[in-house]
Symmetry: C2
Subunit: 345 residues, 2 copies
């Protein structure tokens, strides 16, 4: 049963033999095997929407890196497309969406039925669960409502998030209605993933770091909490990742999640202190350490482990692994964490 492994134990702050580790974006472009599958798929969305290809890339890092968990390969914008937004990926430019900037435009979206409208995701989960070592847990994921809203409102990625913030300041009720619809979407989407076979869920609120503490409290936190409350009864651990959570770390912990995945800016010791040990912590090696060679990787991984709580730590990067990271660096990291993180129990 995947329930017995060190990843799930650490999510529940139970004792483990050694620190579990996985890597955000571990199924990604830094792996030659990923690039080969991706090139067979043709384009990125086809890779996401073809269950056996999505399964293939999900499994690759488990075999190549020996990580303690697999994470479903998909794109954060898949449920948003299913809501009725047009989604296009152009090489080197990132995603483009039909933008939603008014209540009226939001009114044209719907809460999709995840089994019908994103059935390929659930098929991928089922297939991965069949193909994956039964001892290795599979993490499902979704964007958190605020981050999905920001993609929708900006019509893609953004540096300034100007349209999203203008809407939040100018029409808080309208923006909250959009967040509510996204929360419902995320709840249904994550529930279907659990039903299809994932053992944990990670919510990515990647862009919430653009918010002031006040706006996080007023918008992002209530919508995240709604999602977490609705998913709690499914019994799988829920992880929340926010890049740049230092201004409102206490609030992210108050969302009710089991695990906070934190970036590299604050030490795990300080994060643990600020969240009073109420959640497990995932992270938080600076991804740039992987360019430093074996000695730097050992030193910095050791430092993260030294600052981590004894129970309730899942090792990860503080942000996704970059496409030009050497594969050997990622392999070395996983090996080093398992070696250096060994507990005497």
């Amino acid at each position: 049963m995947p329930g017995d492994g060190r990843f799930l134990k650490a999510c529940r702050r139970q004792p483990v033999d050694t620190t579990p580790v996985w890597i955000m974006r571990q199924a990604g472009r830094y792996l030659p095997q990923y690039r080969a599958t991706r090139s067979r798929a043709g384009d990125f969305l086809t890779l996401c929407k073809t269950p056996d290809l999505a399964c293939e890339v999900t499994l690759q890092p488990v075999q190549i890196l020996k990580v303690d968990a697999a994470i479903l390969f998909s794109d954060i914008l898949i449920p948003v497309e299913a809501m009725g937004a047009d989604l296009v990926f152009t090489e080197g430019e990132g995603p483009k969406l039909s933008s939603v900037r008014t209540r009226q435009e939001a009114g044209r979206l719907h809460v999709p039925d995840p089994r019908l409208e994103t059935g390929f995701v659930m098929d991928a989960v089922k297939l991965i669960r069949r193909e994956l070592d039964p001892m290795v847990p599979l993490i499902g994921f979704s964007g958190a409502p605020f981050t999905l809203a920001s993609y929708l409102v900006e019509g893609g990625g953004s540096k300034s998030f100007r349209h999203t913030l203008a809407w939040m300041y100018g029409d808080p009720e309208g923006f909250t209605a959009l967040l509510d619809m996204l929360a419902e979407t995320v709840i249904a989407y994550c529930s279907a993933q659990v039903e299809a076979g994932v053992q944990a869920l990670q919510l990515f609120d990647t862009w919430a770091g653009v918010l002031s503490r006040r706006l996080y409290r007023e918008f992002a936190l209530p919508s995240t909490r709604k999602v977490v409350q609705a998913l709690k009864h499914l019994g799988v651990p829920i992880i929340l990742y926010v890049n740049g959570s230092a201004p409102f770390l206490e609030e992210t912990a108050a969302s009710g999640v089991d695990v906070l995945s934190v970036d590299w800016r604050l030490s795990l010791a300080e994060s643990w202190e600020r969240t009073r040990g109420a959640v497990a912590l995932q992270g938080n090696l600076d991804p740039m350490v992987l360019y430093g060679g074996p000695a730097v990787i050992e030193r910095e991984a050791g430092r993260v482990l030294a600052e981590a709580p004894l129970q309730g730590h899942i090792f990860n990067l503080g942000h996704g692994i970059l496409p030009d990271t050497p594969v050997e660096a990622a392999q070395h990291l996983v090996e080093a964490v398992h070696r250096l993180g060994r507990k005497e129990i």
Copy 2:
């Protein structure tokens, strides 16, 4: 004397009649008058290097917005170019520099004599000081050593700062030597600006928010402190701006500056508490508020004022004003701050 105005008083945490205000990038593309001067100059670097054009755009916002301080118009990379790095601006792409990624490459740079090698900046300061209302203080500026180093190492702007961080992790002594040379450069450059006639200095450590608290302490803070210590005797207030300073706000205050210019993520009340009232605060309206129309601007400016310390607050944005901001919004903001910030003394 410009020393009598409310801006300088607030920098020294003395009582003022009403809250002083200026806007980061107030001399910028959102002003039609700036665009006209810029187009006469031809390219951006010519605008920076022609004292009467730099003077013209420096004065524009004082007249148009009625702000309480002017800030020298220049580019953060001017002293870096004078160190020996090739600098090119391409339309819509931002600056490109010849990158410096090794001790050997850094060894080819030199600490420039600011009067000889950036004489056009000092000429601009003298000219502005002659043309500007004597009651309006002029702020000089420089990048802080870490931010200048990151531009040099990346060869321009960056999203990941991967080469900078790889150098910091892999060869801390070599990177520190580069920071030392940059600190010397900044000290000489700022001293020359004071000699030429500025009444205050702002150090921009714009990119330091990418650093962990530990790396900020180890690299950015000591080099900033070195600069501040060397400039203290000049008797002008020193302001430090870091975008994303929440993880290490206490350390930015420990740099010895008189004023911290903070982004919008933490309230001024929380920033004041964390820095124990040891420094004046500048900021911190989210620039996106300026897209919200008059009622939103009034409400949010009022909120910033309500959270500000009674003495020792200079109103500003938490980041530079964006190029498509309506001029009337900026005008309204300045008027509203002066009206709502009135003190009973």
